[in-house]
Subunit: 411 residues, 2 copies
């Protein structure tokens, strides 16, 4: 008998009909001889509705109370799913954050899980019940309700799976799994059967929206095998698992596209120690998370300092940098919002030289100019003109995934 944790997103429980459909699937899993714990998000649209309500009451709503408000979304969803299960004759019980003591820090709106008391969950499933756990919410040491931020229900599912030592954590979404790239851009995209935690982490942070990055970190740390699959079909999705030896045979397992960044450049700045610290200290002080940073020092003692920020923070970042420009002696500030970040990810890059240069050559063949480059052990990202974004994804996928697959496939 396996112990399975399943997580369904807001779209999967978006209406009474869909909630009943999820209940059918959960019931089938249990009838198949498994113990089942289910985590659900709020019904789709509910979190936004509640946030809008809070804004109607105050332009700047108190963070502690926003969490109390938002937590009602998942509370309603677990109650309804437990009702649907009970209606099918499946004994079920809902559990809220405080009832299984999902203890978090006190960072309202983006709390981090510290521990879960899994005793009640274990005893429920041992008694043949389905335990329905509210995603996205916890309690801090004072007993105040906290929420985990967007996508937090993925993290709840993985944390619960780790706490009960589940055999698998199934993440149900509206796509069939993790794809080598976005199928809407590239017809040759195909579903990955398996992917390593590290690759998934890179892909999640590079714009693949299928899993919340913190849930992957959690799964990696606690060795929870994740199965990303569709709530609308029965076919296997993608397993996110610890690294396997054969995985390095594939050079590039995915190509990602992120249009959500913009570029800011401090031009011709005297290259003095402490310059970067001064600039990025100010940016961080405005609560803006910088992604890529490039600094090119020229022979004459001047440098161009370029970085990317989330599109939503562009105006604010520009304000900070403009205020700093004179102080650091920059010749000016340049920005570009028409950029896109295209990345390739793959464990094979560790052991195979030349993947990056192949990438650059493929782009050069299409006359696509590379504005910025950033690399890690298992990924290469480039920033290019936004208008070439889809073209770049397609040619990179063809050259590095489709043709690479012919050599050492991982399907």
């Amino acid at each position: 008998m396996a112990l399975v944790v399943q997580k369904y997103g807001g779209t999967s429980v978006g209406s009474p009909e869909r909630i009943r459909a999820v209940a059918q699937r959960v019931a089938a899993t249990q009838r198949g001889g498994n113990q089942v714990i289910v985590t659900v998000s709020a019904m789709s649209g509910e979190t936004n509705r509640l946030l809008a309500l809070s804004k109607e009451v105050s332009p700047n709503p108190a963070p502690r109370e926003v969490d109390v408000l938002l937590a009602t979304g998942e509370q309603a969803a677990v109650a309804l799913l437990a009702i649907a299960l009970d209606d099918l004759g499946v004994p079920a019980q809902s559990f809220l954050g405080h009832q299984i003591r999902i203890e978090t820090d006190s960072a309202f709106g983006k709390a981090r899980i510290k521990s879960i008391d899994a005793d009640n969950l274990r005893s429920a499933v041992t008694q043949g019940q389905v335990a329905v756990v509210a995603g996205f919410q916890g309690v801090d040491a004072q007993g105040s309700i906290t929420t985990l931020g967007r996508g937090g229900s993925d993290t709840t599912a993985v944390a619960v799976a780790a706490a009960v030592k589940a055999d698998a954590c199934e993440i149900y979404t509206d796509v069939e799994g993790v794809f080598t790239t976005d199928p809407r851009i590239c017809p040759g995209a195909r579903k990955l059967a398996r992917i390593s935690f590290d690759e998934m982490l890179e892909m999640a942070s590079l714009g693949a929206k299928v899993l919340q990055i913190r849930s992957v970190e959690f799964a990696k740390r606690y060795h929870v095998p994740l199965h990303v699959r569709s709530s609308f079909s029965d076919v296997d999705g993608t397993w996110v698992v610890p690294e396997e030896t054969s995985m390095e045979d594939v050079l590039v397992s995915g190509v990602t596209l992120d249009r959500d960044e913009t570029k800011v450049t401090l031009r011709h700045v005297p290259d003095r120690p402490g310059l970067a610290a001064r600039v990025f200290g100010a940016i961080a002080g405005a609560n803006i998370v910088v992604d890529m940073i490039i600094q090119n020092a020229s022979a004459e003692g001047f440098t161009d300092l370029t970085f990317t920020v989330p599109r939503a923070d562009h105006a604010q970042a520009l304000k900070v940098v403009n205020a700093l420009a004179a102080e650091v002696g920059a010749a000016g500030v340049a920005t570009d919002t028409d950029v896109a970040k295209v990345s390739i990810v793959g464990l094979g890059m560790r052991s195979h030289a030349g993947v990056a240069s192949t990438m650059f050559q493929v782009l050069a063949n299409e006359s696509i100019n590379i504005q910025m480059i950033s690399t890690s052990e298992i990924k290469v990202s480039v920033v290019i003109d936004a208008k070439y974004a889809e073209l770049a994804v397609r040619v990179l996928h063809e050259a590095l995934v489709e043709r690479g697959a012919a050599a050492g496939a991982r399907a």
Copy 2:
């Protein structure tokens, strides 16, 4: 410095604008030098919306989970009110049932409060915060969420007031207080300045909907002075208080009308010991609460057994009685749904004979036939033809309240 508990109903917090208006009133109370604890119901319509949602998922939703679902209504309301208070610069914190351990029994949907841990509330108000307590909800000994039934937020407010030993519990409604009768029926109706707990209990159970009856029982038991007043004006409402000597000077303090009962008669039954037990045992077995019961034994050893039941249970009661009629040897079953119950209530009846006979004479003067009579120490109820209901209320109010007021007023 006084410690005040205020309770606002669903209409008072029915929109973001109204929530801000309630926050203004709470802030003013605090600025007036009081410590304030506020209890709120769900925004108007929310509880019905959630109930409908549960019925869409299952025709017979699991009671434990319905309570988890319904409790979200009050949770959202307290969060929004705390946000509104914070926006006004008033430090505020919401408290849910489990956070101040409002412990109840496990009767989901109609739980009864057993205890409240008031330490967190006391410490919040001592620190200058407004404590915003979710009405209607509690937790049982296992930590499951429970709800108290319709009007349960009144009971929460009174129980909280008792737990913190508040100086007063203010119940805000959409009317100005407790009236001698329904002003829509009787233009001479006037607001009572004071009424005793016992009179209020009778009036609440006789159809005056201003306060939930269980909250009045609670207030009486723990000596919590209640102030029923309008959330749309600043004038004093009605104080519900322990009995005062002068109260007996007023013979009749109110006339109530209840159209929510129907009449069922078992005709010409052999009058044997155990008959009533057999009949009302069966009715109780169907979970129907009988109100008035009249049995008239005739000389020939036969009796008519008449009783009233809530209109919603009429069909079910009839089914039970029809099934019993042959067994107990009744000549038949008669029913009447076009009836109304009119009652007079007043402490003065205890010491003043003749009030009941005056009531009967006033009705006789209008040729209104009395079908059933029931009395207690401080009330007389009659069941009459529904078409005379308003007329009966008007003439009784004129004769016993308005003219009685000329003698010994309590205004």
